[in-house]
């Protein structure tokens, strides 16, 4: 069946809006005054497509605006309809869990669109270079023309990423999941390599594409093993078959393990994270922010769906517990150590995002340990999803600040941040809030999410310690190893404070290389300030509670399945 029923249409209004936006970007900029003459008459009928474009449709800023409208509308409808539940066709299920992720993706895309408007700016009145122009002026004009030309491409691909991501969140079938991930991934490879005139951009895109494709191929191989095992790739079918199997079927076990490679690449887990820093630093900041937030969230949806949704045993330890626990500790430590030594703010943020993936994987490992109660499982999952949600604020916020710096062609060296506190107090202050939130300093949103995660792990494991023992060491010997995951998160957070504070240090202490204020990109500045404000507010007021309510309800529907 190809056509959707009315109910199904209602469920996926946000995706339809995105699709409409996508088609709109393809069509609307091509509208012109072309006319066709009816044969044998003198009547000219306008057919819109072709001819000279109208002034309104030839505006290079149009694609950005259309994308913005589509995304905001989609976000609005997705938000107002976030508790709707139902199947769409055979491969998609809409529920509040997928809607929460949809909101995360869309929020990240909106921020990306705002910053792209200034990072890859469209200028309305650029004339082709004249012979009389100086070399510099001519090359600037050419750059501006190139930027104008590729507005459409960029925004189509941006919407494609959004479409792929939001569909993958709804997928209830492994194959659908993979197709949607590939739609999003292939588009994001292009976005990374979008600045093909710079060598770094092309290299980053190529690297990201090759590593990503290999990871995907391995994942698809794993999926094919699962298909061999069960013959049915729907999540329900897989979960039922998994529960019915006594022990672990080797085919299925290997299949899941191989799929973890693909998903691990998406979330940036060690040792599959190596391409991430290159990709982040080569890509423009709006794209890097997207990779660090939405793309990571996408990886976690897939991991949660497969590990928790399919393979989590009712009681006892999941077979992947040890592996995920090890990977999580290695990931967070590696990420933090590498971030300590990197001088490029974008690479630092990339490594910090690797470390954050480690924190969230530690939460997953605690769930898989088999000692977590239902309440603790729910708490940890809530913490993970909440963390992914607030990451959009402060991780992307940091990339927004870098986007603003990139408008003057800088952001690849720590020196570019020097003296930002003198040049732009408000922007530097916001950046400092983002850094503190990434480090997890109370009362910011980053603390709340990390705190919930630690809380979940401790709640799950602390009861295993013997209460009778007098000395700390005696208690430590008896406590379940899962407890040490919480300690690992705490120690790593302490380690991470150094490189986050270093950003603050150079912003407020070093002398700036130039005293000129940055470009007056009003919407970008507003977005940065809004992100900083929300980072504070979500961490310390009941608004954070409302967001947590939405997330925990969503998690409840997921666990209930």
């Amino acid at each position: 069946m190809i056509f959707l029923t009315n109910e199904e249409m209602k469920l996926i209004i946000p995706e339809l809006i995105m699709l409409a936006g996508l088609l709109g970007i393809i069509l609307i900029p091509n509208f012109g005054d072309a006319k066709i003459r009816l044969p044998l008459t003198k009547i000219h009928l306008p057919i819109l497509i072709g001819g000279n474009r109208f002034k309104s449709t030839s505006d290079p800023k149009l694609p950005n605006r259309l994308t913005m409208i589509a995304l905001v509308l989609a976000f609005f409808f997705g938000f107002s309809n976030r508790v709707a539940t139902g199947d769409v066709g055979n491969a998609l299920t809409v529920d509040s869990f997928s809607r929460v992720f949809f909101l995360i993706f869309t929020a990240a895309l909106i921020l990306s669109t705002i910053s792209a408007a200034h990072r890859i700016p469209a200028r309305s009145n650029v004339k082709p270079p004249q012979e009389s122009d100086s070399e510099l002026l001519a090359s600037r004009k050419i750059d501006a023309l190139i930027d104008n030309r590729r507005q459409v491409d960029f925004h189509i691909i941006l919407l494609m990423v959004g479409l792929g991501m939001s569909l993958m969140a709804m997928a209830n079938h492994l194959f659908m999941l993979f197709v949607c991930i590939e739609l999003a991934s292939l588009s994001s490879y292009i976005l990374v390599a979008f600045h093909k005139e710079s060598a770094a951009g092309g290299e980053a895109g190529m690297k990201y594409f090759i590593v990503g494709s290999v990871a995907s191929a391995i994942g698809i191989y794993g999926m094919s093993l699962l298909y061999l095992w069960n013959g049915d790739l729907s999540f329900d079918g897989l979960a039922t078959a998994w529960a019915a199997t006594d022990g672990i079927d080797p085919l299925a076990g290997i299949g899941v393990g191989l799929m973890l490679v693909a998903f691990g690449f998406k979330v940036g887990a060690a040792p599959f994270h190596l391409a991430a820093p290159d990709a982040y630093s080569g890509a423009s900041s709006p794209v890097a922010g997207l990779l660090a937030t939405a793309s990571k969230a996408m990886g976690f949806v897939a991991i949660i769906r497969v590990l928790i949704g399919i393979t989590l045993p009712v009681e006892g330890e999941a077979f992947w517990f040890i592996i995920i626990a090890l990977i999580s500790v290695i990931t967070m430590t590696w990420g933090n150590l590498a971030a300590l030594t990197s001088d490029n703010p974008k690479r630092m943020l990339a490594y910090s995002s690797v470390a954050h993936a480690g924190y969230m994987l530690a939460g997953l490992a605690a769930i898989g340990s088999g000692i977590a109660s239902i309440a603790a499982t729910k708490l940890i999952l809530t913490a993970i999803v909440f963390h992914l949600a607030v990451l959009v604020l402060f991780k992307f916020g940091a990339f927004l600040v870098l986007s603003l710096l990139e408008t003057e062609g800088r952001s690849h060296r720590l020196e570019d941040l020097h003296g930002l506190g003198k040049r732009e107090p408000l922007i530097a202050g916001s950046m400092f809030v983002f850094m503190l939130s990434l480090a997890g300093v109370p009362p910011l949103a980053g603390f709340l999410s990390k705190f919930l995660m630690i809380n979940g792990i401790v709640n799950a494991s602390v009861a295993s310690g013997s209460t009778g023992s007098v000395s700390v060491i005696g208690w430590m010997e008896t406590v379940d190893p899962v407890f040490w995951l919480a300690i690992a998160i705490v120690l790593n957070s302490a380690l991470s404070v150094f490189y986050y504070l270093r950003i603050g240090l150079v912003m407020f202490f070093e002398a700036p290389e130039t005293n000129n204020p940055l470009k007056s990109a009003t919407s970008l500045r507003l977005a940065i300030t809004a992100c900083a404000l929300l980072t504070v507010i979500l961490g310390f007021t009941s608004l954070g509670d409302s967001v947590l309510d939405i997330v925990s309800n969503a998690v409840e529907t997921f666990i209930g399945n």
Binding site: A375, L379, T382, L426, V441, P442, P443, L448, F451, L452, I454, N455, V458, N459, V462, G465, T467, S469, V470, S471, V472, I473, G474, W475, V490, A494, V497, L505, F508, F509, F540, T541, S542, G544, D545, L548, D549, S552
Partner: protein, 534 residues
């Protein structure tokens, strides 16, 4: 709201006004912004004065008719209806005061307008005075908050205005000093945070518990819980973690090194608040959380307290003798006096603890006076070197008078506030530790030594007003005496030092009642458990 929840009003007003005055000009067109900036100094000062009047009214109202002995540990006055802030993790807005915090609240409300007054002419006044107002909100928040999360947030919030006060208005080496200040205190409070988190995880449910986590940060409920942390070793560890956080703030040797640098570089108002109130946060938190919640650990670690206190006292005083920089000397004398607080607590006598509390208060009056004098010295003579100038009694008689009073108060002259605290602590120390009292008593002689010698070398040593030695930094200009606003500020501080020296019972009575209750309700049982005869 003001009637039912005065402490919330007291805390939030300066925060809102301060942030408003800082941010509003950024958002408005430049013409309106300038007109706001012109009045922001006056508004800040007016608000600070109003809050001081309000705090005085609150303290007066609660002096009369309250028998502090009726208020057991864990009961507070001026409390509010707890409001949930983050229900999912159990954070609530609970405020309250008792005999431990009320003097500190009054002291904070007093020092803020005075420090504004002393630096009335600060550069960038439209930023300076609102920042001090924010500082007031953060400090008051620390003293009134009864929820550990809120307490911690305010604790960290005090860093930010102080950091900028040092960084923007500080001396030549301000970058180094502000960075050192920030890193030291921030690291220490992160250690403290770990302790608080362990406490959080060991709370059992209750009305204020978080909907997702099942734990709470409520200090009162933590105190009411039978055993907060079941594993004894873990309890001691948490106590030590808390101690690291509090001792760094106080500061105690060996984590005191940020203080002299911060003080020397900070502007006068910053030094006054730093010494007057911020150091007391450490002692306050130590008594409020570590001693009240973990009495047994406190009893076990009495030797550690004695060692820390004694080292700070002796070392601080000894280092003072060798100082040539006025502010650095005063800073080390603060370290030395803070050592006495640990000693007072370690005595486990009502008199000793009350003496420690009064020391917090008296030092909060005297040390701002000392720093105001040192600041004025720097302002009018452009130097802080002791001995680079002599005979200021002739050139600046008012400054000399204030300096003399401050120095005398700090070295513990009878009838001044510092004396009461020192004598109370020393008597209690003698009652508990016997002849060990000789050491702190002798240290007071060292204190007298460095204060008197610095006084002699700056105020006197020249009877001829035309032949006093003037520092080179004046470049031959005539020195000026303090301005009227500096004079007013110092005069009030000096007068209060005398007032509380003659009439200490205004606050001393409630402090000794609080100490008695602390011992009766909490510490005696712990002492008996440990086999110590109380």
């Amino acid at each position: 709201m003001i009637g039912t929840d005065p402490l919330t009003v007291l805390t939030l007003t300066p925060l809102f006004v301060g942030f408003g005055l800082l941010i509003l000009p950024q958002l408005l067109p430049s013409k309106n912004a300038e007109s706001i900036q012109k009045v922001s100094r006056n508004i800040s000062f007016g608000v600070a004065l109003g809050l001081f009047a309000f705090a005085t009214y609150l303290s007066c109202k609660n002096f009369s008719g309250i028998d502090w002995l009726d208020i057991s540990m864990g009961d507070y006055i001026l409390t509010n209806e707890p409001t949930t802030l983050i229900s999912s993790i159990g954070v609530s807005w609970i405020v309250g005061a008792d005999a431990l915090s009320l003097p500190m609240i009054w002291l904070t409300a007093l020092l803020i307008p005075l420090s504004m007054l002393v630096e009335w002419d600060a550069k960038k006044g439209h930023l300076f005075h609102p920042l001090i107002l924010i500082m007031e909100g953060a400090l008051l928040g620390v003293f009134v908050a009864l929820d550990l999360f809120v307490f911690y947030v305010f604790w960290e919030l005090t860093l930010i205005p102080m950091f900028f006060l040092i960084l923007v208005w500080g001396g030549d080496d301000r970058k180094y000093a502000s960075m050192k200040f920030f890193i030291y205190t921030f690291t220490a409070s992160v250690v403290m945070l770990i302790g608080i988190l362990v406490m959080y995880f060991s709370t059992d449910g209750g009305a204020s518990a978080g909907s997702l986590t099942g734990h709470h940060f409520d200090l009162i409920a933590m105190g009411a819980q039978e055993t907060l942390i079941e594993t004894e070793g873990l309890r001691h560890m948490v106590w030590l973690l808390l101690l690291i956080g509090f001792a760094t703030k106080m500061p105690s040797v060996p984590v005191h090194t940020w203080l002299p640098d911060a003080h020397v570089q900070a502007p006068t108002a910053g030094s006054m608040l730093l010494a007057g109130v911020m150091l007391k946060m450490g002692a306050y938190g130590f008594l409020r959380i570590a001693v009240s919640l973990f009495p047994e650990s406190t009893v076990i670690f009495i030797p550690l307290l004695v060692i820390l206190g004694m080292t700070s006292l002796v070392y601080g005083a000894w280092v003072c003798v060798g100082q040539t920089n006025l502010k650095r000397m005063v800073a080390y004398s603060s370290v030395s006096h803070m050592g006495l607080i640990f000693l007072g607590i370690a005595t486990m006598q009502p008199l000793g603890i009350a003496g420690a509390l009064f020391m917090m208060f008296a030092h909060g009056l005297i040390s701002p006076l000392l720093f105001a004098v040192a600041g004025a010295f720097k302002h009018h003579y452009h130097t802080l070197e002791i001995g680079s100038m002599r005979g200021i009694a002739h050139h600046s008689p008012y400054l000399a008078a204030h300096m003399m009073l401050g120095w005398m108060g700090s070295l513990g002259l009878p009838l001044l506030a510092g004396f009461v605290a020192e004598v109370a602590i020393l008597i209690a120390f003698w009652m508990t530790f016997g002849w060990l009292v000789v050491l702190p008593a002798l240290t007071l002689i060292i204190t007298a030594m460095y204060y008197l010698s610095s006084m002699q070398r700056t105020i006197f040593e020249s009877n001829d007003r035309h032949h006093g030695i003037l520092p080179e930094s004046l470049h031959g200009e005539d020195p000026t005496d303090v301005t009227w606003h500096e004079n007013t500020g110092m005069f009030i501080l000096g007068a209060l030092t005398i007032l509380f020296g003659i009439l200490p019972f205004i606050f001393f009575d409630m402090m000794s009642d609080w100490s008695t209750k602390l011992l009766e309700d909490i510490l005696v049982a712990a002492l008996e458990n440990q086999g110590v005869n109380p």
